[in-house]
Amino acid sequence: MTSSTTRFDKAYPELGTGRIPVEPYISEQYFERERRYLFPNVWLHVGRVEELAESGAFFVKDLDVPNVSLLLTRDAAGTVFAFHNVCSHRCNRVVRERAGVAKRFSCGFHGWVYGLDGALVGVPDEDQFFDFKRTEHALTPVACETWEGFIFVCLAEQPIESLSSFLGDHFRALEGYPFGRLQACFSWNTEVRCNWKLAQDAFQETYHVPYVHQHSIADALAVNDNPSMHPIACRLSGYHRKVSVAGNPKTVYGNPKAVNDPEMKSYNNPDKPIGSAALRAGIGGSKERFDIEALPAGMNPSNHPDWAFDINGIFPDFYLSLRPNYYQAYNFRPISVDRNRFEGRVYYPKMETAGGRFYQEYMKCMLRDVLLEDWSNLEILQQAIASGAKDEMVFQDNEILLRHSFHEIDNYINARMSETPPVAN
């Protein structure tokens, strides 16, 4: 049953308009299927190449699902590697620091030494081992590829497809976005008592904005003829998804010309005195220019005049929200069926002036507090779903990304299960 006013159901009829079961959000069995068939097979975002800016730079990334500790390195030739952070001798964690710069890595248990490329290059008391060849005992590599400076890993021994194939056309149309010029990163993390999909869903629709964000950024998304904050465009392609969101460029928070536009020197909104001061202070904070006209074709795909930003959903758990002059990168990492770890990052241009930093700090504090508004509801929501009061949820047309996410995850798991021979008793 469709409505004459709905749009996305007609563009993507294969998704249907039916209700969505709550089972994937609360079922231990469903989580076990995700743990076994979904997360080990897909490409997972783990960081930026700028975190490995020089030869010997490394960082450690721990995941809960799959439960692994990964070591990311860059060698002198500039190649980025990922390894299991596990010694080939007796399986100790090789690197305990979170990040740094090193020429080689020495295991603290018995002193085995590995190069930046994972090769075993030193073994104390080596002649006491049997039939020993160093080349057989390198760190275990993990498939690692980059896209536009984002580092992805795949834990499968043989990835089903390359990162490029996995990301597909949707992401080729975003190439050229100034990721490399937005390198001032602020990040937060928190462990939330709710399912990872429940968390991600809350960031994939704007229906909640007039309610959850009534005190904060609702005005920045308000456009006169769109009181319910409907997305202005939606594009689904394969696993991945996006919506475009309109905004009010005259607000402090939604201002696409901040930092660049000298007219902001006289900005004054009496309701936002600190924000107005920050916007004035930010002018000239960076020499970089961020022009809407220079953005790649994949952004604002409907060329809507009120466009503010695009929400990109990268399968299965990576959220990338792109504005002309900054972007947010969030991951919703599963821990268990009712726990997830949120890793939130926002990337701005590097500022060269104190005034620029003041503007950036204002924007960052606003964003962080808006995130606190989002997260407050989710633990209560998880408990309410788990009570069993409802078997299904109802998604409206503008919640299409949630519907798409549900179907893509379910389809992916079913496809992998059908490829796997049943376990013999």
Binding site: R48, E50, E51, A53, F59, R98, A99, Q183, A184, C185, F186, S187, W188, N189, T190, E191, H215, S216, D271, K272, P273, I274, G275, A277, A278, R280, A281, Y347, K350, M351, E352, T353, A354, G355, R357, F358, Q360, E361, Y362, K364, C365, M366, R368, D369, L371, L372, E373, D374, W375, S376, N377
Partner: protein, 119 residues
């Protein structure tokens, strides 16, 4: 993290009580804790005192490179960062806490991220 204590540049001496009250704080986490340890009356008075001079403050601090800011200017800089921290309390919520917000102590700023601006 402890607040910095020391003199402000001469022309900003009237703001010295806010340094003495512990608002010159060099990290996001410390500034968040400070905001949530204060009554709204103090936050309002702090923001009004800072806003009265904010365009001057920005002009003065912009005369230094971020890498080579003298100690007294850094005090002023961190007061300005605290003004940004209290902005949501002043402009949005009318209270230090986010209205119906998630517990702020559980939302941990990653101060050690290598991509974070040093100042």
């Amino acid at each position: 993290m402890k607040p910095l204590k020391g003199p402000l540049p001469d022309r900003f001496t009237p703001l010295q009580p806010w340094v003495d009250a512990g608002w010159a704080l060099p990290s996001e986490s410390a500034r968040t804790d400070k905001r949530h340890s204060c009554e709204m009356t103090e936050i309002t008075a702090f923001s009004q005192a800072m806003l009265a001079r904010i365009d001057d403050i920005v002009e003065y601090l912009n005369s230094f490179s971020l890498d080579e800011m003298p100690a007294d200017a850094r005090q002023l800089y961190f007061l300005m960062m605290s003004l940004a921290e209290v902005a949501p309390a002043v402009e949005l919520y009318g209270q230090p806490l986010v209205v119906d917000g998630y517990e702020y102590r559980r939302f941990i700023a990653d101060e050690d991220c290598s991509l974070r601006p040093p100042l």
